[in-house]
């Protein structure tokens, strides 16, 4: 029974990993840029939820939408003001730019909230249900199901709609896309907005049951990176599968080895993946 409990808990958290990791993989696959601040975008989503509950007594639906909206604007702004220029620059500038952004966001939030852990004031979304003999928290259940739905939605948006085709066209061949009348700049800004919104929503979803601390983004971006590598870069279905697996591995190692080792196991796994299968599960590179 406990094993089942661990599995379900891991899969539900893994679905949230899948959601924000698919944002990272979208940008990476499209313009070969890694957003090192992606984990801090998730953290921002968590704090937006927190502020919305504390200041506005907002419900889950409101603060999730608020996080999505704020983060998508932030993503587009970051693209126009920073990424567009550094993409043409040297590797050093590409990597350092979003890394600097991560530090700036992380420690600005740190400045206001300090290192103390906070949790969302109760009754935002609470309780638990008994299903097939195991206890599942309502917040985890809602977050997991919504995250899974949104990740699938993102995949469908990219593969089944005109807009998605335009985004994928730009990532495949910028020149050819331009000749077809697609504006790469606008599509890339849109991708940044979409990816950042996925981070914001993921943050708002886990805020209901996760601890909030300004430095949580550091391990989250690493998890997203492991998921993306594992799933094969640029692949949303890959990220979805890998996210669930990583969530499962984390839950299992937290339970069987000890909670402090849940990140250790994932990071060690990452190094192992780089040695054994750098192209990822579904990758073909």
């Amino acid at each position: 029974m406990i094993a089942l409990q661990v599995v379900v808990g891991g899969l539900l958290l893994g679905a949230v990993y899948a959601l924000f990791s698919s944002g990272l993989t979208l940008i990476w696959g499209m313009m070969n840029v890694v957003n090192f601040a992606h984990g801090d975008f998730v953290m921002l989503g968590m704090y937006i939820a927190y502020l919305a509950v504390v200041a506005l007594h907002a419900g889950p639906l409101v603060f999730t939408l608020l996080a999505a909206l704020t983060l998508s604007i932030l993503g587009a702004v970051v693209y126009y003001l920073l990424i567009r220029q550094v993409m043409r620059g040297p590797m050093l500038a590409q990597i350092l730019s979003t890394f600097g952004l991560a530090l700036l966001i992380r420690y600005t939030v740190f400045w206001f909230f300090s290192a103390t852990f906070v949790t969302l004031p109760g009754s935002a979304l609470g309780g638990s249900i008994k299903l097939g003999g195991i206890l599942i928290g309502i917040p985890q259940l809602v977050a997991g199901i919504l995250a899974m739905g949104l990740t699938i939605g993102m995949h469908l948006l990219l593969t089944r709609t005109t807009l998605g085709s335009q985004i994928l066209a730009v990532s495949e061949d910028r020149q050819a896309a331009m000749l077809m009348g697609i504006r790469p700049d606008r599509m890339q800004a849109l991708a940044w907005g979409l990816a950042s919104a996925s981070a914001g929503v993921a943050g708002a979803l886990i805020a209901t049951f996760y601890y909030l601390t300004p430095t949580v983004g550091e391990s989250l971006v690493l998890i997203a990176f492991v998921v993306v590598c594992f799933g094969g870069f640029g692949s949303v279905p890959g990220a979805m599968l890998a996210g669930l697996i990583i969530g499962l591995i984390q839950a299992a190692s937290a339970y069987y080895i000890g909670p402090v080792y849940k990140d250790v196991v994932v990071f060690a796994l990452f190094v192992a993946i780089l040695w054994v299968r750098p192209q990822g599960l579904l990758g073909t590179v």
Partner: protein, 319 residues
């Protein structure tokens, strides 16, 4: 050019004469320590163009080994140095071999992940002092404990180390490896098509960089007589190494010293002004500097200076 180096050497040798206060003596010793560290990062980050952001792992391993030797076997801390270097080189190989075949982002992420992994392990490992850390000898037992009341002997130790790193770097610049690295940085495909094994030379640069970082970490721990996981394995250490080299000028000999000479006094000042909050403020500032640098002038201050000189020369000709 040679005259410039000579002048710099004289200034660095004589610098302690100008600072008599223990606070300033400590600050200039730290400036040199960070110049060494940033120069070590520069070998792989600047010259080979591989943006490793987890060098704290080499610094931390180097820092822990001497005090581990003292804590468990009452040995001379310096004996831990070669072991620290060996472990650091091992970690460099572990990260470098798979990632140097891949796109540059993999190395950056792998270095962060391994640094974080080791920090978490050390924090929970009782043998190495867990979260409390390790201490060194309370007072010098023999001359080999390198225990001094003043920071000046360490200033000269770090100066010697700085000379060593610079010597190595300038030798590397002139050597076959330097040409290969420049070729790889300019265009990896072109370099490989001419038969340069890019992964191998990047790995060599990484190994040298790790070894120097580890050595500097060891000497820092012996100077301080105390280490704990967050202060030596923390992300701040990695960030500082990168930002000092990048601010001064990544891929130049003197850039790291320029960066360290600007930022260390600034940081000491911020810490004494704001106390514990100063650390967070430094991070915000560093984040801002890094963004502005990568957006407007990835070449750093030396590049700005060169632009300025070039513009002045042009103006001189037209007048």
């Amino acid at each position: 050019m040679r005259r410039g180096w000579l002048a710099l050497g004289v200034v660095l040798l004589a610098a302690p004469l100008a600072f008599q206060d223990p606070f300033y003596e400590r600050t200039i010793a730290l400036v040199l320590l960070w110049a060494v560290l940033a120069s070590a990062w520069n070998i792989v980050g600047g010259y080979a163009g591989q943006v490793a952001i987890g060098h704290a792992v080499f610094f931390g391993v180097g820092a822990y080994l001497p005090l581990l030797v003292y804590t468990h076997w009452q040995g001379v801390p310096l004996l831990g140095i070669p072991v620290g270097i060996a472990i650091s080189v091992g970690i460099a190989v572990l990260i470098g071999v798979p990632t140097f075949r891949l796109h540059g982002h993999y190395l950056s992420m792998a270095t962060i992940a391994v640094a974080e992994l080791i920090r978490l392990l050390v924090t929970n490992w009782e043998f190495v002092g867990a979260a409390r850390g390790l201490g060194g000898p309370a007072s010098g037992r023999t001359i080999w404990d390198l225990s001094y009341r003043s920071s000046i002997p360490y200033y000269y130790i770090f100066l010697a180390l700085f000379a060593l790193v610079l010597g190595f770097t300038s030798w590397m610049e002139q050597s076959r490896m330097g040409y290969y690295l420049r070729a790889i940085k300019a265009g990896q495909r072109a370099a490989r098509s001419l038969g340069v094994s890019a992964p191998r030379y990047k790995l060599y640069a990484m190994i040298a960089s790790a070894a120097f970082t580890s050595l500097a970490g060891s000497l820092y721990a012996v100077m301080l007589g105390f280490v704990d996981p967050d202060s030596v394995f923390g992300i701040m250490v990695s960030v500082q190494m990168v930002i000092m080299a990048a601010l001064g000028g990544a891929g130049t000999l003197i850039g790291p010293l320029v960066g360290a000479a600007l930022l260390i006094p600034l940081q000491t000042f911020a810490n004494s002004l704001f106390g514990g909050q100063g650390n967070g403020l430094t991070f915000i500032l560093y984040g801002g500097i890094i963004i502005l640098l990568s957006r407007f002038e990835p070449g750093g201050i030396l590049e700005i200076w060169n632009h300025y000189l070039a513009r002045k020369a042009r103006k001189g000709r037209t007048e």
